[in-house]
Every structure is written in structure tokens, then in C-alpha cells.
């Protein structure tokens, strides 16, 4: 490999990027906008679920129950209705995702037998939300029944004695607030870089074929490896700008705590950029049309990255076969790395395994791309 040729190619590539301000703007703005769109769009926390109440009793007790719902951060009472048909309408129109119905004999049964039930009607079109909503509702009702019990004991005139045989004292690590955003945003950075990185380089070889400059280029003594490295260097810089944007937005705008070292971030991000840029380059080598290469790059990176990288869906909860497949998804290693760097503040040594995988991946793809490039027309 000759440095002189590397330099010539890199300089030429920089000039071409510079002379095409539209593509440059897209390359710089795309991650920016995606970061904001997806950063706000993806939120797995269920808060302030709209509740529809149907109080068939209208007693002090029933109103107390609803106050418990209102006080919880998970629910907001959106509607008070007077009939079942109105309950159905509220759920059908998706005005409310859960309805709580208090029976007419609620207080009476509670006083007589010491136990009463309320009805929860849940919109389960999204089963995940439904499960969580049900859990929260049960917790609210439990809390309310505790209060009722305590006041009942109180009224019996017995000395108040907390009966709590066992309690769990939990401490949450790394994401203390249990904010899903803290867990999603670092992964989002990885996902966006996987998409944008492959896009950046997917045009670089196909453009030369389409513009007819490739025929002359391959008649020169330039080596495939020189061409590849020379072309990747400017995009590495561009990719770094994009990554810096995304990481800064994650830490400064979304306030995700960053606990790792900048050095570790630099090393791992560079490594990841090498992987994604050379994937885009490989596609560009294999597919000689710009449109084709960029479409394939999008298809080949988007779905696997979104679904299988562990960015949203935890890998250890996937079926074993799918879990094995995720080892091929290069984004998963960087998702792991970025999450750990942000939330755990892991060191490079602790991240050795995903880093090693990325090194293997980068080497394999680059060797493949250099070999796939043929200095021939047939």
C-alpha cells in the first residue's frame, strides 16, 4: 500500500464531498433530525394513562379510590361517565386505555364482608401496554386496600401496629430513575450511526461507475486496498462529526448521564465507524448503481439494526435461534458498548468482548471489500 496514492484518493474524495454541498448537508443533518425524532418518539415509559371512571355507587369510598388513581403518576382520569355504553365508547375511540368501574354495592360489601371488587376494562390492542396498565392498576388498588385496612383497624380501637413480615429493599443501579429514555437514547445513537454510516459510503464506488470515471481509474496502477482506505478516511471524519452530534445530543439535550471516558468512546466509535463505512463500501463495490447501492444499504441495515441489535428489544429475551443471529448484527456490539459507556461507565477492558467482535467484523468486511473490487470491466 502506497501512502502517496492513499493521499491522492483521500484529497480527491474530500474535494468531491465539498463540491456537493447538498449531499454534505444531508449527511450532516440526517443524524441530527433522526436523533430528535426518534429520541422523542421512542419512549417505553407508561405514564399518565388516560382512565375512564364509572362510579355506580357514588360514595365517599369510591371517590377515595379514584383519588388514588389520580394521585398516581401512571394514571390521569380523563373521563367520568355514567353508563356502560359510554365506557365502551371511551375505549373504542381510544380516549381512554383503561376503565375502572365501581359496583353499586362497593361500600356495602366492603363493610359487610370486608372484601369488595372493582372492575377494570383494559384496551389490549397493544398487549404490552395492557399488561403494564393492569399491573399499575392492581398496585393502585392494593395500595388503596391497605389504607382501608389500616383505617378499619384504627376504627376498631386497637393499637395501630404495622404488620409487615417482609419487605424488599431494592436499589436500582445504572439507570436509577428507571427511565427508559436513558436506556434507549444511547442505543439510538448506535442505530442511527449504523444507518447513516452505510449510507455515506454506499455511493462512493457506484458513483464512479455511473459517471464513467472508474474505467480510467482501474486502468491505473492503484490497488483496491489503496482505493478503499483512501475513500474511507474522509468518510471516517464525516462519520465522526455525525457521531459527535448524536452523542452530544444524547448527553446534553436528553440528559442521559455519561459515565465512561472520552478515550473509550473515541476508540469504540472509530472501530464501529470502520465497520459500517466498509459495509457501505462493500455494497457500493457489489452494486454498480448508486440508487441500488443506497437502497440495499438502507434495507440491509435498517431492519436488522432496529429489531436485532438490542437497541429496543432485549437480546436475552429473544428465542435462541434469533439470539444466535444477532451475533451477525454488528450494531449490537456498539449498542452494548454505548449503553455501558453511558450508564455503567465501563472501561475498555470491561468492553473487550464487543470490541473484539467489532475488530473481527471490521477486518472481515474490509478484506472482503478489497477482494470484491475487480479492476476489470468483465
Amino acid at each position: 500500500m502506497k501512502l502517496r496514492r492513499l493521499k491522492a484518493i483521500a484529497v480527491k474524495e474530500v474535494l468531491q464531498i465539498w463540491r456537493d454541498p447538498r449531499s454534505l448537508m444531508i449527511a450532516l443533518l440526517l443524524p441530527f433530525t433522526q436523533m430528535f425524532l426518534l429520541g422523542y418518539g421512542v419512549n417505553l415509559d407508561l405514564k399518565h394513562l388516560p382512565v375512564c371512571t364509572f362510579d355506580r355507587e357514588g360514595s365517599q369510598l369510591s371517590q377515595d379510590l379514584f383519588k388514588h388513581f389520580q394521585a398516581s403518576q401512571y394514571f390521569t382520569i380523563a373521563r367520568n361517565v355514567q353508563s356502560y355504553s359510554q365506557v365502551v365508547a371511551a375505549i373504542d375511540n381510544a380516549d381512554c386505555s383503561i376503565a375502572i368501574v365501581v359496583p353499586p354495592d362497593f361500600s356495602e360489601r366492603l363493610n359487610d364482608s370486608g372484601t369488595a371488587s372493582v372492575q377494570a376494562i383494559i384496551d389490549a390492542t397493544d398487549d404490552n401496554t395492557a399488561n403494564i396498565a393492569f399491573g399499575y392498576a392492581a398496585a393502585v388498588v392494593n395500595g388503596f386496600s391497605n389504607d382501608v385496612q389500616v383505617s378499619w383497624i384504627d376504627r376498631q380501637g386497637r393499637p395501630l401496629q404495622q404488620v409487615q413480615p417482609m419487605v424488599v429493599q431494592s436499589r436500582v443501579w445504572f439507570n436509577e430513575d428507571l427511565e427508559s429514555r436513558n436506556f434507549i437514547i444511547p442505543g439510538l445513537v448506535a442505530a442511527i450511526m449504523a444507518l447513516v454510516g452505510a449510507q455515506l459510503t454506499s455511493l462512493t464506488i457506484s458513483r464512479e461507475w455511473e459517471r464513467g470515471t472508474m474505467e480510467l481509474l482501474i486502468s491505473t496502477p492503484v490497488r483496491p486496498s489503496e482505493l478503499m482506505i483512501g475513500k474511507l478516511i474522509p468518510y471516517l471524519v464525516l462519520g465522526w462529526l455525525d457521531a459527535a452530534f448524536c452523542l452530544a445530543i444524547a448527553a446534553l439535550w436528553f440528559g442521559v448521564p455519561y459515565r465512561g471516558t472520552l478515550f473509550a468512546l473515541f476508540v469504540t466509535t472509530s472501530l464501529f465507524l470502520f465497520v459500517v463505512l466498509s459495509i457501505g463500501y462493500l455494497l457500493s463495490v457489489l452494486i454498480r448503481s448508486q440508487v441500488g447501492a443506497s437502497q440495499i444499504a438502507l434495507l440491509a441495515t435498517m431492519l436488522p439494526t432496529m429489531l436485532l441489535s438490542g437497541y429496543i428489544f432485549p437480546i436475552d429475551q429473544m428465542p435462541p435461534v434469533i439470539r444466535d443471529i444477532t451475533y451477525l448484527i454488528y450494531a449490537r456490539y456498539y449498542v452494548t458498548i454505548v449503553k455501558d459507556l453511558f450508564l455503567k461507565g465501563s472501561s475498555i477492558v470491561e468492553l473487550a468482548t464487543p470490541i473484539l467482535f467489532l475488530i473481527v467484523y471490521a477486518t472481515a468486511v474490509m478484506v472482503l471489500a478489497a477482494h470484491a473490487f475487480r479492476k476489470r470491466l468483465d
Binding site: K2, I9, V11, K12, L15, G212, S219, V222
Partner: protein, 321 residues
């Protein structure tokens, strides 16, 4: 021209064949090009000129046969060949979004022209292309003739002993074409071997030797003079008259007539002996009631020769088929 030496030929093609599927693009082609020699490839579009050049540049692998450039087998070691050649592809292939200087500097880097020589060589290329004062102009803004001369400048920046120019003058205005050929001659005078293709028949006159290519085969090779005198294998008569159709039919089987073809509003008749046919043919036509207004020997232009040769070649192919 004094740089032309016999010695070892710089380019050798031996029984070169290139097939694309069942289509034979290059069919048993043989030729040699010496040092400082300008060899022209002429022929209609799709004749196989570009394919042969691409094989010699190592861009296409020959299906059979051997190509030696600068004494190196192209198929075996294309990279060593590429260091010794300059190439202008048929389609313009410099970077249009780079300026004149940036293109030259890029190719200077690719060919690793020594740093201390690069400035001189770039100045030489810019002067040669007549682009002084336009060094910072984007290539896309240059007219066709300038673009082609710059492409030539890029191709010779590393002083290759061998140049492949694929239709360098196509789409270039006549005055610029003339100037381009002057440049080629200057380079050849310095000992550069040049293989240049063109579909302008008149440009064959600028070559030391020209090869006529039709449907993948070399159907004639020689200096322009040789081609004009001997390639036809006979002499040409021009014949004008009213009823060309019947005249053509009458002449086709006439004794001494080798070939006959319509050329504008006249007939070109290829005969074994012009003097004899000049007296025989009018008499023969007279018998059939045909009176040509004019019959006279003509000196064939290269274009006549090529049209004639291609017509003969086509006829032979049809017969063979």
C-alpha cells in the same frame, strides 16, 4: 519520427479473441506496434476497436490469444502493464467536479510522479492542452476539445512509453481535432508508441499505420499509402450514367470486374486492370443498351478503400454463412 526504431515491438497481439457469450467481439486479431509508432484503429461503431484496447489495458480478459504490452503479458501481470501505459477511454473519464489542476495532481499522485517533477509535468500538460490561465476552472465548464486535451495531459503525466487513446477526437470540432493529432505526433516523435482509434476515416492519414477493423476482425493493415495502392487488390473506376441499377447488374459478372458498388450518384468499379477495363466495359455496356456518361480511373481515397474493403468483407461473410 526518427525515434521510430525497429527493435522489439511495444505492443503485440497474437490471435486475440474475445467473446461475450456467443457474440465474438474480437476475432483472431494479430498486430504489432513499434516504438514511436502511431497505429490507427479504424472501423464502424461496434467493430471491436474499444474491446481490443481494453484488453491491452488489462480491463478485459481475452478469451484466447496473447497480448504483450511493453514485453509484459497483460493477462498475467496487468499491474505492471498499467504502470507503463496511459489510457484515454472512449467516454470522458476525468472528474468533472474537480478543476484542471486537481485532476492533474490526482493522477500525479496515483502514478506516484516524483514530487520534484510534478510541478514541471503539470505545467507541461497544461501548456500542451492550451489550458494556461484556466488551471482553476472546473472540468465540467470546459469545452469538449479542451477536456480531451486535458485527458491526454493526464494520460501522459507519468511519461508512459505506451499510449492507448480510444476515440480521443470524437465530438471534437475539426480545428481542435487537428491540434490533437499534432500533440500525438509530438509524443510519438519522443518515442511513445500510440494506439489510437477513431471513426473519422480521414484521420487514418495522420497515422503511420492504420488497421481497418470490421466485426471484430482486422481486415487490412498498412500505411495510408499502402492501403490506397494495394489493399483493394485492384484499381478503381468511376462510372456515371442514368440507369445505375441495370448498369450495376450488368457489371457484377463482367470479366475483369472484381467488385462494384454505388457511391453517391455514381458507381465505383473495382477492376483488375484499369487501362483494359476502360476500353472493355463501355463496349460491354453498349451491347446491353447502356451508355454511361463518364468512365474514368480514380485515385482511391482512404474512405473509398475502407468502404470497399468493408463491403467485400461483408459479402465474403455472407457467402461463408
Amino acid at each position: 519520427m526518427n525515434a521510430r526504431e525497429p527493435g522489439e515491438p511495444q505492443i503485440i497481439a497474437e490471435e486475440l479473441i474475445k467473446r461475450f457469450g456467443t457474440f465474438v467481439a474480437v476475432d483472431h486479431v494479430n498486430f504489432r506496434i513499434g516504438r514511436g509508432e502511431i497505429m490507427g484503429f479504424l472501423g464502424p461503431n461496434g467493430a471491436g476497436k474499444s474491446t481490443i484496447i481494453r484488453i491491452l489495458c488489462g480491463l478485459l480478459r481475452p478469451s484466447a490469444g496473447r497480448a504483450l504490452v511493453a514485453g509484459i503479458d497483460v493477462a498475467a501481470d496487468p499491474e505492471r502493464v498499467r504502470e507503463r501505459i496511459g489510457y484515454m477511454s472512449q467516454k470522458f473519464s476525468l472528474y468533472r467536479d474537480l478543476n484542471v489542476e486537481e485532476n492533474l495532481r490526482f493522477f500525479g499522485g496515483i502514478y506516484r510522479v516524483p514530487h520534484n517533477e510534478l510541478a514541471d509535468r503539470m505545467r507541461f500538460a497544461i501548456d500542451m492542452a492550451g489550458l494556461r490561465g484556466r488551471e482553476k476552472a472546473l472540468v465540467s465548464t470546459l469545452a469538449g476539445g479542451w477536456q480531451q486535451r486535458l485527458a491526454l495531459g493526464c494520460a501522459v503525466l507519468h511519461r508512459p512509453p505506451i499510449l492507448f487513446l480510444d476515440e480521443p477526437t470524437s465530438g471534437v470540432e475539426p480545428a481542435s481535432r487537428r491540434r490533437f493529432w499534432d500533440l500525438i505526433h509530438t509524443l510519438a516523435a519522443d518515442g511513445v508508441s500510440v494506439l489510437v482509434s477513431t471513426h473519422y476515416m480521414d484521420e487514418a492519414e495522420y497515422c503511420h499505420r492504420a488497421a481497418l477493423i470490421n466485426q471484430g476482425r482486422l481486415i487490412a493493415v498498412g500505411s495510408p499509402e499502402e492501403l490506397k495502392h494495394t489493399a483493394l487488390g485492384g484499381e478503381l473506376l468511376l462510372l456515371e450514367g442514368d440507369s445505375l441499377g441495370p448498369t450495376l447488374a450488368a457489371l457484377t459478372d463482367a470479366p475483369g470486374v472484381l467488385d462494384c458498388s454505388v457511391f453517391g450518384n455514381a458507381l465505383h468499379v473495382l477492376v483488375r486492370d484499369a487501362a483494359r477495363s476502360l476500353t472493355e466495359l463501355p463496349a460491354l455496356l453498349e451491347q446491353k443498351g447502356l451508355r454511361p456518361t463518364r468512365v474514368e480511373p480514380i485515385r482511391a481515397s482512404l474512405e473509398d478503400v475502407f468502404v470497399q474493403l468493408i463491403a467485400i468483407d461483408m459479402a465474403q461473410r455472407r457467402q461463408a454463412a
